[in-house]
Symmetry: none
DNA sequence: AAATTTTATAGAACTAATTCTACAAACAAA
DNA sequence: TTTGTTTGTAGAATTAGTTCTATAAAATTT
């Protein structure tokens, strides 16, 4: 047991973890840096090793980070979490913050922005892009619900994600270990909230708000 | 003008180009390696510099690579192109090949797979994952035409049109005065011919082939 | 602190959709 | 010109999906 700091990157794209590791080693030459490509590996490691910073993608083949954040925080309450995701920050950043992360960084960021975010978060601060800071201010001050997808709960969002990826109700039920009637209930609520009544329209709407 | 080889990576995610550059410099220490984050930069460079290998994403804010490949090939017919994309290879790989690229590599690939693909393509070969090779073999053996929508009969095309517009089976049945089992039969045949098994994938495929 | 709304979940009853099988007509191939 | 294949169509049996109702827990509002 040494007293080096420990940094972890996790993303299902190996090219991303490799690259983040490289950046981390540049910033903290003496740190222990690990990379993983699944959430389960991260959880396993948190059980055995004290970790200072976790850089995480949201989507993994073996689960969705949004639900896992509280689990991670339970295992190691002091761990700092920086989300590094390709998903639209307009949709996910605020949710992630509410779930307890310390920062949200877009995968489109430049190397300097990435370094900056890491440094901010390591200094026990929050990191958010200008864009998101403004959005939060707007929402706070003007209470405008900007985009219908914000009305979806995390669970609903997870399910809508599976739906637009092509999973059928039964498949979703078995993936999430729920009853098919539960999925139907979600589906109805989601359709209602987004004001559509069929899958193609949902996809259109979702894709629309996903990419801006 | 030196006689070094010239390699370009282009992706809207800077972390990806950075990482690919690193890999390329490892493989070809004497090469000129450039990275860009837009297609327009790539095109501009092809006009001034002779390029050996281009590693390209498909989606850019300023355009879709698929439509641009012929342009790139016109500027420099000998340039080798390796697509490195997060999009579903089942849907995009063959299309990219038809457009004239030399390889298709998934963003989920490990570093070794990436290196391997680069080496293969540089050796004037094609690179494709096992999965896609098998798919192409199947198509070749069973002589399926390259544009699957051509395989649809008029009636099937009519029904697929209604499907992507959001009509449900029962609605289509009543519009066309047919039994719902008939619509189901069509649906199965259409899915089969287009090689998909769910509506979102069908929509993707249909939109893709519709716009050319 | 109490009242209200939203969220996450399902059982039972019901409706919609698919599968499997089939068959005639049109078309293509040997 | 017979043989094989694709197309257009369904009935019966089966499976998938929805609706309606309900309830506990969480979040929000009053």
């Amino acid at each position: 047991m040494d007293n080096k700091i420990t940094l972890i990157t996790a993303d299902d794209h190996s090219i991303v973890t490799k690259s983040l590791c490289f950046i981390l080693k540049g910033l903290y030459p003496d740190a222990n840096v690990y990379e993983f490509n699944s959430i389960s590996d991260v959880i396993r490691t948190l059980h055995t090793t004290s970790v200072d910073l976790l850089i995480l993608d949201i989507t993994f083949p073996d689960g969705n980070t949004l639900n896992i954040i509280p689990v991670l925080k339970t295992i190691q309450p002091q761990v700092k979490i920086l989300i590094f995701s390709g998903l639209d920050e307009d949709i996910y950043a605020v949710r992630c913050l509410n779930a307890g992360v310390n920062g949200y960084l877009s995968k489109l960021s430049t190397e300097d922005e990435i370094k900056n975010a890491i440094i901010e978060v390591m200094a026990t601060k929050k990191y958010l892009s200008k864009n998101i800071q403004e959005k939060i201010m707007d929402n706070y001050i003007f209470k405008k619900p900007s985009n219908p997808i914000d009305q979806l709960s995390n669970r609903e969002l997870e399910i809508v994600g599976l739906m637009v990826e092509g999973y059928k109700s039964t498949e979703i039920a078995s993936i999430l270990n729920l009853q098919k009637s539960t999925i139907s209930t979600y589906k109805t609520r989601i359709f209602e909230k987004l004001g559509v009544d069929n899958l193609p329209d949902l996809i259109k709407k979702f894709n629309l708000y996903e990419k801006m």
